[in-house]
């Protein structure tokens, strides 16, 4: 199919109008690879204040922490009046003392009200004028079509014509839709039979029919999309982020809008409204909104207090000096949960720990043993270039066959069970017939979790990833191995002082009956367990040929050093050593000691972590954590990355010996081995960007769970593999579930924008930031605060919005807090 001339021009324009209109809604990844993302990522360029004003206007979202939370924080001393005063002056430096006092007085006493909702679409305007319920009716109908379209095998009868896109598939079925006939009347049937072939044309026809002038197309389109932000976000993922070979049906924004606008057009007309005049009135209204100055001051004070404490803590010399000759090194993911494991391991002995993005620089497509699907094991900012498969090592082939046969039998049973569950009539008898078996299995899974895990491990064959390039097109060439290894080691500053054992430790969550399970896995591995990347990286770094080439490049790994792969289960706080068969026998004793200390560190971390989980004050925290992981009714197996607040770049000496409360992403960096700033640039443009997405996802899911959050887990219904609904229908719920950020009605997560702390020469940081738009937008647009110092003895500097540096001055902590209602 080709298009030409005026039609092509108009359609190209419509495509851009749709793309611009959708920027207010962030992409939503499917559940199988759920990753945290900034819901306002499409608006990063315009800065935080302007972006949240857009979100308030179009999504009707609350974008700052609730005033009740802030007042409680002030009551608890978490925000002081000095913080507030400093924040007022930071925003309004010309105010005098009396004016600041007046500002604070008003700030502390004025209630916050949501601005009135302005109608966004023709149907909303009709509802307002006529008392109809067209908008929600259209929402429900379009959402149902979306769910039918994207189904990934759950439905017995898939929607026909899906390969042509939603609009064309729907267009064929629409004349037979009784719901649409009820909404629009019988006379609409003829019109539905003659809808335009192209979705872009259908959009423009509907907009014209609704009386929307061309200069208001984008506003109307934005309003339409904001009625269904979940499905819009999914379409954004499918169009902009899904890999080219993605098998899921391609839900596009243009198709979604075409279907929706035809519904609205018919509904408005059937309701007897005169939309032309009404819509003109809507679009003549101002759409901008003044940023809420008070909310901004509160948020700044909330962040300032945390920032002052962290910088003050790291400004003091740490009690533990770096270890000259560590017995082993642990390289963890930068994930905030790793901070606890590192801290507790360091307390057990002469261990050095480092932080690096948990994919260890190995951007791979990985197929686990016997799996049909391939996972992209890398940050979503990268396209994996190398395919790796997990295969049995020589001598293990027959065991692997038996293992896979057992898996196929279980899969067949599962498939039959699923078919019976979804079949008409069969579902009613299934519970009667199978309840005694499945109930017992569920109870065993809950009550004997460790035994089950051990049994699974015992039956697993020994395998290895196909690291070396082979005839099947898998694996890395030697040059690639050397390049990837060098990049990883230099970026984390590990170019010398290697210990005899270096554990590359990926991480994963382990939960049962949890649609959002992948949200607890490694974000740097694309929402997958990080073990495969650790295995590949360790295998490469143990190659003598790789070490030989690395030596020529200035990275000398001694022959006595061995890299070991491992995986930290963040739900149970256990660390598993992987590929034991690869470890030289002479290192068995050292590995055993390392494992013992890791287990001790993990137990201490479990005790610390379980204590803050609801219902977690128990005698045996490690056992309690295991039960939570395997309990199919547990809605909060762990807190994940809740309370994340900062991203620290520099040597571990900056933070060793400090309890950072599992709130910081820690990325190792040695300025001495990075004179041109390449490693720093890599850290800031990739791991920090991913950390900012995580931070923003937690922030927005907390400040407005209704708009940005995933809703209550107990009400979730999974739609194929793509997402969850609340109840039986409606919009896809994006964001984190309520139980990930709230404890009851109160936030557990502290909604703070990310603080990035870097120890590196300031001129190097400035150069890196200035040559990367993404960093300028984040640091200068109010999304991330950047604090830095050139060396440990230098004072902290804060990057200002104009790109200059100002010396950090903590808010004075006095005893003059005002008496105000809390």
């Amino acid at each position: 199919m080709t298009l030409a001339g005026g039609g092509g021009t108009a359609r190209a324009r419509t495509r851009i109008d749709v793309e611009v209109a959708a920027r207010v809604i962030g992409p939503v990844w499917p559940l199988r690879s759920f990753i945290a993302v900034n819901p306002l990522d499409g608006l990063v360029e315009i800065g935080f204040d302007a972006a949240v004003a857009q979100a308030q206007r179009w999504l009707r979202a609350r974008c700052h922490p609730d005033l009740g939370l802030l007042r409680a924080a002030r009551h608890a001393g978490r925000i002081t009046d000095d913080d507030l005063r400093a924040s007022v002056l930071a925003r309004h430096p010309s105010l005098g003392d009396d004016e600041v006092a007046a500002f604070l007085s008003e700030l502390l006493e004025r209630p916050v009200a949501r601005p009135p909702a302005v109608p966004r679409t023709a149907a909303e305007r009709c509802d307002e004028r006529l008392g109809t319920h067209l908008a929600v009716t259209v929402d429900a109908m379009v959402a149902t079509w979306c769910a039918a379209f994207v189904d990934e095998g759950a439905a017995a009868w898939p929607m026909p014509g899906r390969s042509e896109g939603l609009y064309r598939a729907w267009r064929r079925l629409a004349p037979h839709d009784p719901g649409l006939r009820r909404l629009a009347g019988r006379q609409a049937r003829a019109e539905l039979r003659h809808l335009s072939e192209h979705p872009e044309d259908a959009i423009v026809e509907a907009l014209d029919d609704l009386g929307v002038p061309p200069e208001s197309y984008r506003d109307e389109l934005r309003g339409q999309l904001c009625r269904l932000p979940g499905w819009t976000g999914y379409a954004r993922w499918r169009e902009d982020w899904a890999p080219p070979d993605e098998p899921a049906p391609r839900l596009s924004l243009v198709d979604l809008l075409a279907v929706r606008l035809v519904h609205e057009r018919l509904a408005v007309r059937a309701a007897g409204a005169t939309p032309r005049a009404v819509v003109r009135a809507i679009h003549s209204q101002p759409v901008g909104q003044e940023p809420d100055d008070h909310a901004a001051v509160w948020l700044d004070a909330y962040e300032r207090h945390y920032r002052d404490e962290l910088l003050a803590t790291m400004a003091r010399p740490t009690p533990t000096s770096s270890i000259r000759r560590p017995v082993a090194q642990l390289v963890c993911c930068i994930d905030a949960r790793s901070e606890g494991l590192r801290r507790h391991l360091e307390a057990t002995g002469d261990y050095e720990t480092l932080g690096f993005a948990g994919f260890f620089g190995m951007a791979i497509r990985f197929r686990p043993l016997g799996a049909t699907d391939v996972r992209a094991q890398c940050p979503v900012l990268v396209t994996p270039g190398v395919s790796i498969e997990e295969r049995p090592i020589p001598g293990q082939e027959r065991l692997a066959e038996r293992h896979l046969a057992r898996g196929e039998t279980a899969a067949a049973a599962g498939s039959a069970f699923h078919a019976a569950k979804t079949g008409t009539g069969a579902a009613f008898t299934l519970a009667e017939i199978s309840g005694w078996v499945t109930g017992a299995a569920a109870a065993a899974r809950t009550l004997r979790p460790r035994r089950r895990v051990r049994a699974e491990r015992r039956s697993r064959p020994r395998t290895a990833p196909t690291v070396d390039a082979n005839a099947d097109g898998l694996g890395f060439t030697l040059d690639e191995q050397v390049l990837y290894a060098e990049t990883a080691l230099v970026t984390m500053g590990l170019t010398g002082g290697f210990a005899p054992l270096v554990l590359l430790c990926g991480h994963r969550g382990r939960t049962t009956n949890n649609p959002h399970a992948s949200a607890l896995d490694c974000g740097a591995c694309g929402g997958n367990p990080g073990g495969p990347n650790a295995r590949v990286a360790a295998a490469i770094l143990n190659r003598s040929e790789v070490r030989s080439d690395l030596r020529e490049r200035g990275v000398d790994i001694p022959s006595r050093t061995w890299f070991v792969a491992g995986e930290h289960d963040t739900t149970t706080d256990t660390v598993e050593i992987l590929d034991r068969h690869d470890i030289p026998p002479g290192l068995a004793g050292a590995v055993a000691v390392f494992e013992r200390d890791l287990a001790q560190a993990a137990r201490r971390l479990a005790a610390e972590r379980v204590r803050v989980l609801p219902g977690g004050r128990v005698r045996r925290p490690a056992a309690h954590a295991a039960v939570r992981a395997h309990d199919w009714a547990e809605v909060r197996p762990e807190w994940g990355l809740a309370r994340n607040a900062a991203f620290v770049v520099g040597p571990r000496a900056m933070s060793v010996g400090l309890d950072l409360g599992c709130r910081t992403f820690l990325h190792s960096y040695d300025p001495a081995v990075d004179p041109d700033g390449t490693a720093l640039e890599t850290i800031l443009t990739a791991p920090m960007v991913v950390a900012q997405w995580i931070n923003a996802q937690y922030y927005f899911s907390t400040v407005d769970p209704d708009v940005f959050g995933g809703g209550d887990k107990t009400q979730h219904n999974a739609v194929g593999g793509v997402g969850v609904l609340l109840g039986g229908g409606g919009d896809l719920r994006a964001g984190l579930p309520t139980q990930s950020v709230l404890d009851g009605d109160d936030p557990y997560h502290e909604p703070l924008r990310l603080l990035t702390v870097v120890q590196a020469p300031l001129e190097r940081i400035t150069a890196v930031v200035d040559r990367n738009d993404v960093l300028r937008h984040l640091f200068d647009g109010g999304w991330v605060t950047l604090a830095a110092r050139s060396h440990p003895d230098a004072p902290w500097q804060l990057r200002c919005g104009d790109g200059t540096w100002a010396q950090w001055q903590p808010a004075v902590r006095g005893d003059d807090d005002m008496e105000v209602p809390v």
């Binding site: 030409a4 092509g8 611009v20 951007a363 970026t491 443009t685």
Partner: protein
């Protein structure tokens, strides 16, 4: 083969960030372009100074050069779409006359 035996067409070259590639592809498809060539990780100096080309682990914020060739009657659609895209996004567009040996590939 002589130049006279070739078919005249319009070549459009666009430099955008990886973030805008999907939108650019949408424009090409809607305008009737049958294909494109992309060159990832390009760098250069523009009116905002030096633009970094390659980033080790971030393709979305690196610059990509995308080249398409269309029959002249589809060029206006491509140009209109790209101009709209670049109205508030970073990037540049170059348009030139070109000739191709296999015109059926581009129709």
């Amino acid at each position: 083969m002589t130049r006279q035996s070739l078919t005249p067409m319009t070549k459009v070259e666009v430099v955008v960030t990886g973030d805008d590639l999907p939108a650019l592809r949408e424009v090409f498809a809607a305008a009737g372009a049958t294909g494109y060539t992309s060159v990832a990780n390009v760098s250069g100096v523009g009116h905002h100074g030096f633009h970094q080309g390659r980033l080790a682990f971030n393709e979305r914020d690196a610059l990509t050069l995308v080249i398409t060739v269309v029959p002249d009657d589809r060029a206006e659609a491509v140009l209109a779409g790209v101009q709209l895209l670049l109205a508030d996004r970073p990037g540049v567009m170059f348009v030139s006359d070109t000739s191709v040996s296999r015109p059926e590939y581009f129709r």
